[in-house]
């Protein structure tokens, strides 16, 4: 047991010798939680509209005003030339063109129907889709308004309509704030990068320095050796997450609805697992460069295929298989469940079990794959 203590002390000293690491441990979570939550937003707003108005009537202007008043849209330009509006799109001054046909007003009053043309830049498909949907909504509202105004003068008989009134209720994250959904994702990403890459560099730097030979000739067992290497990273991961939890709570007022205890337990299991993975990579690499790229390669894949940014349910079958064999997917699920929904142990028991299996598996592999040569 004494040997273990000395080994851990040695590891700490070695790790902290890299002056950048203490700065990383404290500075990185603060910086990440300070800056990125504002960026990671799939909401679609500030959509710039160029209006081509061939009609210039009270009716068309009213429509333009309605679009202007909407929180989703900003009117960039009102012109009478479609070509000019297209140039707006090409110069990225506009995202969508609303073209009001000539005789818009006459068509509404006399023919009870009128046309408009929406041309949306859909390079970003979601933005094009939602921009379209929001504009269509405004058109529908305007149509209803016109209907109640003008139908008084309409002579056709009214018939009785059955109306189903839908009352939507949004549960968890009622403010529809994307930050709340993505902040747990940021935490997972950050912990994965740091607790996955740093351990991967560890054994390999000893190999490169030659100090690994000295360890190999000592009677220290594989278990002690690996354990001593892992423990500092568990502590580092713990510190990083704690700083992140506090920053997020103080800055954004977001605290885990399910309390800190389930959060810490799952985080601990995850960190144990992911540092085990890092060590495995270290064991199989000869140079730092190899370890770095191997680690980076895997980490990039598991970050993307984990439900962090896009839902697992939307993935094709083959990707889902990867996602379900990925410890990040389970950790991500737990983090979101505890932070947003306040899920109790019953909710997280299943994913937590998987996480534990991964932790045990990876670390066993790390110990077994280390060879004293």
């Amino acid at each position: 047991m004494g040997t273990l203590k000395f080994l851990i002390e040695k590891e700490f000293k070695q790790t902290l010798r890299n002056s950048i690491i203490p700065k990383l441990i404290v500075g990185y979570p603060i910086m990440v939680m300070l800056i990125f939550p504002w960026a990671i937003n799939f909401e679609v707003k500030n959509i710039k509209v160029s209006v081509v108005d061939h009609n210039n009537s009270v009716y068309s202007q009213r429509l333009i005003q309605k679009v202007d008043a909407s929180k989703y849209f900003i009117i960039n330009n009102i012109t009478s030339s479609y070509d000019e509006a297209m140039v707006d799109i090409e110069k990225t001054n506009a995202d969508i063109i609303l073209e009001i046909q000539p005789f818009f007003d006459k068509n509404i009053v006399k023919n009870k129907t009128a046309d408009v043309m929406l041309s949306a830049n859909s390079v970003d498909g979601t933005r094009g889709l939602l921009g379209n949907a929001y504009l269509s909504q405004i058109l529908n509202d305007y149509s209803s308004e016109l209907r109640s105004e003008l139908a008084h003068t309409d002579m056709s008989p009214k018939h009785k309509m059955s109306a189903i009134n839908i009352i939507p209720q949004y549960k968890f994250n009622e403010n529809l704030d994307y930050k709340v959904f993505m902040i747990p994702a940021l935490m997972v990403m950050m912990v994965t990068l740091i607790c996955g890459i740093l351990p991967a560099l560890n054994i390999v730097s000893e190999k490169e320095n030659g100090t690994i030979q000295q360890i190999n000739v000592t009677p220290i067992s594989k278990y002690q050796f690996i354990l001593a290497k892992l423990i500092p990273y568990w502590i580092i991961g713990f510190i990083i997450l704690s700083i992140a939890f506090v920053v997020v709570g103080l800055l954004y007022g977001i605290w885990p609805a399910g309390g800190f205890f389930p959060l810490y337990i799952s985080s601990l299991v995850f960190i144990v697992g992911i540092s085990g993975l890092g060590l495995i990579i270290s064991n199989y690499s000869e140079t730092l460069q190899q370890a770095m790229f191997l680690a980076f390669f895997f980490i990039l894949i598991i970050i993307l295929l984990s439900g962090l940014f896009t839902p697992i349910a939307s993935m094709p079958k083959w990707a889902q298989i990867v996602a379900y064999s990925n410890p990040l997917s389970y950790f991500m699920e737990i983090m979101r469940m505890v932070y947003l929904k306040g899920s109790s142990y019953r909710g997280i028991a299943n994913p937590l079990l998987f996480l534990t299996a991964f932790a045990v598996g990876f670390n066993t592999w790390a110990v077994l794959s280390y060879r004293k040569r």
Binding site: I40, S122, Y170, E333, K341
Partner: protein, 369 residues
């Protein structure tokens, strides 16, 4: 000149000898394209529903049937109290709950109006609202059915829509430029910085400096193999994107390649800059790997649209070269625009290249004394 060539060949040998890394470097773009092209998308499908139906009767049953018949929805739970709803959400077993009030059928028949509650899980706001939109659509169609309405109500403004550049709204169109920006930058920066710092650490840098080549020539010789590697990656990405994902290359291929090469060059110089700051390989890896990855992934516009970001953050993204590169690629590849539309972004990239070069040269003069 012969000495320069010898150096370049030496650097190439360094890379070839490390088979594993080389495989990863060439394989990374392929896996990224596959993932981004096929696995990452925002569609909402597979919606699990719970129904609370106190008085099952014609109308309520028909509505439930309609919802279940839709490909995206499946009614998994029939519950009998509001309390069960919360627990089902918390265990991630449902995405939507449909709650009928007690007198739905009566109300609809006698007073022509009835309420219906849709409770959705909006942990992910977009998914939650899209689910409600889909369900509302199904119910609206049902409403038309029971009222025997077809066609449009009077005074309806009808919109014809055109999706420009990307009519099928494939997310891969906006992702591919992002993948290019990420992979080209990260690989070039990491490789260069690690390679140079490794020589410093091992002490072989002194040996190189003792050779008749100038420092600048040594450094350029170092970057050439990585330039070639990244160039191969660029061609791989373009090939896969175009033949596997069907992403169009509407603009000038020549321009695309030239500007990408400039971008690769910029990333290599960035690696050079990092190598002048880092004293150990580990530091270089942390700066280039951990330090660069998150900002480039999250702030470059490859995943999250820049239009959404608050003012200050949007200004911050201007520092990230990938951001400008991605804009240029989108305009060239997908919109098929010509040179005049990218002058602003191109000048910014050129400016950044010059700045990084100047900084590296300043720093390296100090360091190696």
């Amino acid at each position: 000149m012969k000495q320069f060539r010898a150096f370049v060949i030496k650097e190439f040998y360094h890379i070839f000898r490390d088979r594993r890394t080389m495989l990863i470097l060439l394989g990374m773009p392929i896996t990224q394209i596959l993932i981004f092209g096929f696995a990452i998308n925002m569609e909402v499908t597979d919606i699990a529903v719970a129904v609370l139906n106190p008085n099952p009767d014609t109308y309520t049953n028909q509505i439930i049937e309609r919802v279940n018949a839709n490909d995206y929805f499946h009614v998994d739970y029939t519950i009998h109290s509001q309390n069960e709803i919360d627990e089902l959400f918390k265990q991630n077993k449902i995405d939507l709950a449909i709650v009928f009030p007690n007198n739905f059928n009566e109300d609809l028949v006698h007073s022509g109006k009835a309420d219906l509650q849709l409770i959705s899980d909006t942990s992910d706001p977009n998914t939650g609202t899209i689910i409600v939109n889909y369900a509302s659509g199904i119910i609206a169609d049902y409403q038309k059915e029971i009222n025997n309405i077809s066609g449009n109500p009077p005074y309806q403004i009808v919109a014809t829509t055109r999706m420009l550049y990307n009519p099928e709204m494939k997310s891969s169109y906006s992702f591919v430029p992002g993948v290019m920006g990420l992979i080209l930058m990260v690989i070039s920066t990491m490789m260069t910085s690690i390679s140079i710092v490794r020589e410093k650490e091992r002490g072989t840098m002194e040996v190189l400096l003792a050779s008749p080549l100038r420092l600048s020539q040594i450094l350029i010789a170092k970057t050439i193999p990585y330039l070639s590697l990244s160039f191969i990656n660029l061609l791989t990405i373009l090939y896969l994107a175009s033949f596997l994902l069907g992403v169009p290359i509407r603009g000038s291929l020549f321009l695309i390649i030239i500007i990408s090469t400039l971008y690769i060059f910029l990333s290599l110089l960035l690696g050079l800059l990092i190598s002048t700051i880092a004293k150990k390989q580990v530091e270089a890896i942390i700066m280039a790997g951990i330090g660069l990855t998150m900002p480039v992934m999250l702030l470059s516009g490859m995943l999250f649209p820049i239009d959404n970001m608050p003012f200050l953050l949007e200004k911050l993204t201007h520092i990230i070269p990938a951001r400008w590169y991605i804009v240029i690629m989108k305009k060239l590849m997908i919109e098929g625009l010509d040179f005049t539309f990218i002058i602003k972004e191109l000048s910014i990239l050129l400016g950044m290249t010059g700045l990084i070069l100047a900084l590296s040269m300043l720093n390296s003069k100090k360091r190696l004394e």
